[in-house]
Assembly symmetry: C2
Homo-oligomer: 296 residues x 2
Amino acid sequence: MPPTVTVAVCQLAPVIGDVAGNVARAVEAVRAACDRGAGLVVLPELVTTGYAFADRDELRPLAEPVSGPSVSAFAEAAAALARRHGRPVVVVGGFAELDEDDVLRNSAFVVSADADGSPASRAVYRKAHLWDDENDLFVPGDQPPTAVETPLGRIGVVICYDLEFPEWVRTIALQGIDVLCAPTNWPVAPRPAGERPIEVTRAQASASIDRIFVATCDRVGTERGVEWVGGSAIIHPDGHPLALAQFTATGGEGGEQTLLAQCDLADARRKGTSAHNGVVSDRRPELYGAVVRPRT
Amino acid sequence: MPPTVTVAVCQLAPVIGDVAGNVARAVEAVRAACDRGAGLVVLPELVTTGYAFADRDELRPLAEPVSGPSVSAFAEAAAALARRHGRPVVVVGGFAELDEDDVLRNSAFVVSADADGSPASRAVYRKAHLWDDENDLFVPGDQPPTAVETPLGRIGVVICYDLEFPEWVRTIALQGIDVLCAPTNWPVAPRPAGERPIEVTRAQASASIDRIFVATCDRVGTERGVEWVGGSAIIHPDGHPLALAQFTATGGEGGEQTLLAQCDLADARRKGTSAHNGVVSDRRPELYGAVVRPRT
């Protein structure tokens, strides 16, 4: 029987450049989420550094390898919380990575600990679709996303704008993941009154199309003129939110907050949708060739 | 300059087996929509026959080739309406097709007429992803969808469950379509209070991901125990509905109705989304190989 996992998304407002403070505040949010029962905790994109950097010179001193102090702090927190609560803890979040070739990446880490506090995994995912000025700061990832086995199920990670490419979500979903964790920094954009941010709508569609849980963790606040919408959500494989941040047309009203939802992973492992249908088995890959045709 | 097109979706309640009556009522709905200004009119899936057939023996006598009387009736109506109003008319709708090899297909036609009433196109699309008992009635299409040039822009057609495969929507969107027309028969399914049918959410996501207009035309009513949700919508390339049928948790409350929306096709031809980004140019087809890998 797959477990029921309490998933948390900690919507925060990182301070640009304040890595030590951001990590401390995020670790504290993870601790509070675990004290409320969370096992799998998702943090925003670039939660260690903030987002709106002027250039690489400003960003580079704040970037770290996945073995560096920031990710290690989350790994140590996961281990300590697992030991304290006697159950596994998994933490996912975004950070500015300096990779093995000194290249800057917009990345996310996965750290986990078994129930006895021993480290279970440390993995990194590098964002493959870069948004706007990120193109001046980072080099996009060049590898498909890879599922990560954790003590709380098989999870996938994509980052923010990656979610706008359903081929990408499908690539990781086909690896049989239970939960797709998506650290995001979604800027506020105009939308009609009463409408959810379209980013949330797309995440809902992704969950339902692949029959997976999707946990988006957005940031809030305003940074150098950029305001974020605060669109965090934990979405069931049926596409409907189990938990959804509050937001208004002007964005960010919900502020910092942690959402929690109980996710029965069995719901993500039933891919059948009728006596005749399944979201994986009904695919017709032999007809999808246009999707991989090189750009002209 | 691409035109602004008034798109209509005519949400109807076909009567199972009554082809002559269904065609007459649908032609009347098209006429009324054009009188209200519509140029491109979308009708539900299987609008000529109804849906919940017991078996092929019941369905077969009602199926027709694309050159048959039902599709011809829509072509003639398009021509007459184009002449009357002095502007092009395009009609898209679902029908049970008996193809050139006497095979039953769940298909959609596109018929159009130029402003002078002369026929401009007659095309057929065969649903490639079949839902539930359709597998006992129809043979799925085995060709990718093909854009249809009409006097009102380049359009694409998919049918109902096809929309749950974003690879499929991408395949037609990459052909540079302005409007994706989706005849549907969406059964009512449980959903949380206040939530839209997830089918509408997926259509919204598709519109925004590919920056195209999406016009879904659903049916209503109850037929042999199947109730439809009536989730018709005309969606802007930003993903938000320009027009949306009313529905409640029990579905079908909106009843028969025609929605109209002005669609500035230029909005579907601007694929750029920031100084650095475009929904087509940002794709990384070289990394999407898993999507076309044969099922194991």
